[in-house]
């Protein structure tokens, strides 16, 4: 990313900017996954507890 910016306006725009945008997007995705993992674990545990508490 830094190399492409250093090699001029053209490569900086064509290579550097998309890579930067992609990195930001992937970081956002990772944060999303972190939240979803915790949510799914809590949700499934509560579903299993429901099975144990309310038997039919």
């Amino acid at each position: 990313m830094i190399s492409s910016t250093n090699s001029g306006m053209l490569w900086g725009t064509v290579v550097g900017l998309p890579s930067f945008a992609l990195m930001i997007a992937i970081c956002a995705l990772e944060i999303l996954v972190a939240g979803i993992q915790a949510y799914v674990f809590a949700l499934l545990t509560s579903l299993y507890l429901n099975d144990a508490e309310n038997l039919h």
């Binding site: 830094i2 990772e30 993992q37 509560s46 507890l49 429901n50």
Partner: protein, 194 residues
């Protein structure tokens, strides 16, 4: 720009003992304090500080109190929707579970590696940690199930409306799907190791 040095993508998952390698043993097993243990401890401290900072009980809550109350309210709603009024007593457990996993994940994502000498580590990226959490949840289900319903708990394996001629098959399938739950819980958390 020259070579930036080789990046080892697996290095972030390495368990490294920090101290106690030489003489901390239980029954012949070394129990050194590892980076995983350190980050679980950090997760606990950060979580404790987060909750303590918001547990002011003010009638007009500040921003911090709203954050903590929002998180607790979210778990409370989750249990109320899925278990009903009997789910109230599980709020502390599910809250601890949810926020531990969330904080551990987020702490591992922080770009702390930029500070020299700091190696961020996600403790929930290891099967041992997620496995223990899953076994804990599974044991609670078993204990609660048998304590509340006794042997009647086994009727879980015969869903309502099972035709009599399928009674030889359905309980087997239900039993397998029940026993697979802890693995399903643990693997789901560990496998997309982020």
């Amino acid at each position: 720009m020259a070579e930036q040095g080789k990046v080892d993508p697996m290095h972030q998952f390495m368990i490294e003992p920090l101290f106690g390698t030489d003489h901390w043993t239980i029954a012949g097993h070394n129990i050194a304090f590892t980076n995983s243990a350190l980050w679980m401890l950090i997760t606990f401290v950060v979580l404790f500080a987060f909750v303590a900072g918001g547990a002011k009980g003010q009638t007009v809550p500040g921003r911090w109190q709203v954050m903590v109350e929002g998180l607790v309210g979210f778990i409370d709603n989750l249990l109320a929707a899925n278990v009903g009024p009997k789910g109230k007593k599980y709020v502390p457990y599910i809250f601890s579970l949810f926020s531990f996993i969330l904080f551990s994940n987020v702490l591992g994502l922080l770009p702390l590696g930029l500070i020299k000498g700091v190696h961020p580590f996600t403790s929930t990226s290891h099967f041992t940690v997620t496995g223990v959490l899953a076994i804990l949840s599974f044991s609670i289900v078993l204990i609660v199930g048998f304590a509340r319903h006794g042997l009647h708990f086994f009727s879980l394996f015969v869903p309502h409306g099972t035709p009599a001629w399928l009674l030889w098959l359905i309980p087997v399938i239900e039993l397998i799907s029940f026993l697979v739950r802890p693995f399903s819980l643990a693997l789901r958390l560990f496998f997309p190791a982020l």
